[in-house]
């Protein structure tokens, strides 16, 4: 790993990010989403490309406002418009481009082949419908499940997400559930049509640690059981170490580093990733060690610095960083980074 620098083809501008040889389940290319506020343009997603392979869990990690949720929303064209707009890019899902589809075709994909779990479990469920009504909805719409089978299927789903006593819970309203249970119901709804891809946007951010562990374990087990892929969006690097196969680190609307979980944690090659790992408070630290924060403030997406967006906070920055934007290039195999400097151990 020390001599990895020798065989890395980076620093040759012009070479673009290499496509996944497997030809993933989801292939996102040059996706670009902006929000317009008066004359200002906020580049929420700034030309990102990535892919998700069948059966894999891809994590998207980054600070608040780095564009994680907007990436996910853009995939399904759920961007509030105006002020938002997807201005460029392709999203191939099973060979079809989701961005070219008609609204009708897309509706058939949403909640059926691609399901989403949102950040706020409190507001994502309809307060005036029972759990049964909400669970049954996607099955009726997408799968045309027969009425007499629906109840059995609902109970089965609630059992899968380990809600105790599902028979009595089925006719309860969301407010009668706790936060963790609501998130389980959300997961059950997402799984109702056995989607091929599950997008979980900070599924546990509002929950307690013990409940977070339960929910994440559940998601891991269920995706494994169904063989579905998952995009797990989170700001918590810690969560990602256990549950992700691959990780995309986002900063200011871009992917700055991408690799397997081990690559990211053991050989972080972008100064931002490195900074994130060093600034995490850890339970397994040898003693009461001082944290090493990333200095400075997160950038204003409507007014990005020139060159590398991270350069004002970056301890490695050189002149080139201030002038030119580093492309996302392979560092080693599928481990990609967008940085002009070689950060070594």
């Amino acid at each position: 790993m020390k001599d990895a620098v020798a065989n890395q083809p980076a620093n040759t501008p012009g070479e673009t990010m290499q496509k996944d040889p497997v030809g993933g389940l989801l292939q996102v290319e040059h996706l670009r989403t902006v929000f317009r506020q008066g004359r200002r343009e906020v580049k929420a997603v700034d030309g990102i490309s990535f892919s998700v392979n069948p059966g894999e869990t891809l994590a998207i990690v980054g600070e608040s406002g780095s564009g994680k949720s907007m990436t996910a929303m853009s995939l399904l064209r759920l961007i509030p418009s105006p002020p938002g707009e997807i201005i460029d890019g392709d999203v191939f899902f099973g060979g079809r481009n989701l961005l070219d589809m008609s609204e009708d075709e897309l509706r058939d994909v949403r909640g059926n082949e691609i399901a989403m779990i949102f950040q706020e479990p409190m507001t994502s469920l309809n307060p005036v419908l029972t759990v049964r009504q909400q669970l049954a909805e996607p099955m009726r719409v997408h799968r045309k499940v027969k009425e007499e089978d629906i109840e059995a299927r609902c109970l089965d789903l609630l059992r899968q997400v380990r809600i105790p006593d599902p028979e009595t819970r089925l006719d309860a309203y969301p407010h009668q559930f706790s936060g963790g249970m609501r998130q389980r119901v959300m997961i059950a709804m997402a799984l109702a049509c056995e989607p091929r891809l599950l997008i979980a946007d900070e599924p546990t951010t509002a929950l307690d640690v013990t409940v977070q562990a339960q929910i994440l374990e559940l998601l891991k087990d269920l995706t494994r059981q169904h063989g579905s892929s998952m995009i797990l969006i989170t700001h918590d690097l810690g969560v990602v170490a256990r549950y992700a196969d691959r990780i995309n680190v986002m900063y200011a609307g871009r992917i700055v580093e991408s690799g397997t979980a081990r690559e990211i944690f053991e050989q972080p090659r972008h100064p931002y990733t490195l900074g994130l790992i060093n600034s995490m408070p850890r339970l397994d630290a040898s003693e009461k060690a001082r944290l090493l924060p990333i200095e400075g403030q997160p950038p204003d997406l409507g007014n990005l610095p020139t060159g590398c967006a991270f350069h004002p906070r970056c301890p490695f920055a050189v002149d080139q960083c201030r002038q030119q934007d580093p492309p996302l290039e392979p560092y080693q195999g599928h481990h990609l980074k967008a940085c002009w400097v070689n950060v070594d151990d």
Binding site: S64, D208, G238, R242, P293
Partner: protein
């Protein structure tokens, strides 16, 4: 340094009456948010208060500040009983204790300039005289927390979360308090900013000899700043220990469960780690807490005694106290067996 602790809380209880129905206004029952909490805080130390949402951490902090009515118990500062102070008599106390809030956006008045926000305690307690001295003091505070002096004319919405938290810290420092109650001061911030604020709080403590009551839900954060840690569950203290002792040797089954639930940012360690499946379910309601030990419905070591008798907090080793039947001396023989089974 004297032996009387700076802050001492004895058997604190805070119960909130629930609104009853229209016809039977007294039928509501009550939320036992804090139910018999005792602790002490020495000058210059940091005591962590951890636990899941709703376990009564903030309420404990509020009661100590005398911002919420105390149902029962005593609060002493420097040996003086402040539990029953009222009105004007509370004013000096308001200077001696300050608070840093979780939400960096809600805690600052959006219509005030930073200069006025940070300086408000100075005005309220008449700590400086003259406009010049006032401004100078505010600028000094701003520098102390790492804000540039030329930001003092700006309004809160022009700052990022981390910077606002710095403003809140400067405001808390302005009155030169004895105790600062930090209610989840970093949990609304990004990791990279979290570390900045934790380091700042630590540096300020070293420089100014501050005393913190540090409320948090994240054991990992607490580890980096606290000397001692108190774990709460459903209004009760279940374990108190020196920070190192707690992390190397957690004794209460709840503390153990809490620790096992915290992810470790290391894929290799994670692949070896077992997430404890036995801590199922969620925190029960404080309106209707379980009988006996409050943790028994979720505890894998629970026995019949646990559901009947509430355990008391007792010291097991020096400075390490735990409230669990596994460590009750009466059942020592039994507990040895159980402890062995945990290990």
């Amino acid at each position: 340094m004297t032996d009387t602790p700076l802050l001492e809380v004895r058997n604190l209880k805070v119960h909130f009456k629930l609104p009853g129905s229209l016809l039977r206004p007294r039928s509501g029952g009550s939320v036992k948010a804090v139910d018999g909490v005792s602790f002490h805080l020495k000058r210059g130390e940091t005591l962590g208060l951890v636990g899941e949402s709703g376990c009564g951490k903030s309420t404990t902090g509020m009661a100590v500040l005398r911002m919420t009515p105390v149902t029962d118990g005593e609060i002493h500062i420097d040996g003086e009983d402040i539990t029953h102070l009222k009105g004007r008599a509370l004013r000096p106390l308001r200077r001696r204790m300050q608070m840093i809030y979780q939400d960096p956006f809600g805690a600052l008045d959006p219509r005030m300039r930073v200069l006025d926000i940070i300086g408000e305690p100075l005005k309220v307690h008449k700590l400086v005289t003259g406009r010049k001295a006032y401004r100078q003091e505010v600028l000094r505070l701003m520098e102390l927390v790492g804000l540039l002096p030329d930001m003092c004319e700006r309004y809160p919405h022009e700052f990022s979360g981390g910077q606002r938290q710095r403003i809140g810290i400067a405001r808390a420092l302005a009155a030169q308090p004895d105790v600062i109650i930090c209610d989840e001061p970093v949990s609304a911030l990004d990791v990279s900013i979290q570390a900045q604020i934790i380091n700042l709080l630590k540096d300020l403590q070293e420089e100014l000899g501050l005393t913190y009551l540090f409320v948090a839900h994240d054991l990992a954060v607490v580890r980096h700043i606290c000397d001692r840690v108190m774990v709460m569950y459903l209004g009760h203290v279940v374990e108190v220990a020196d920070s190192e002792a707690l992390y190397t040797n957690p004794q209460h089954p709840y503390t153990q469960a809490l620790m096992s639930a915290i992810p470790i940012p290391d894929p290799r360690a994670e692949s070896r780690r077992e997430v404890d499946p036995s801590i199922e379910g969620e925190v029960p309601s404080p309106v209707n807490p379980p009988s006996g030990c409050p943790f028994h419905p979720r505890c894998k070591h629970a026995t019949e005694v646990c559901s009947r008798v509430a355990p008391t907090l007792r010291e097991t080793t020096d400075g390490h106290a735990v409230s669990c039947h596994l460590y009750e001396p009466e059942t020592e023989a039994e507990s040895l067996v159980r402890v062995a089974s945990i290990a």
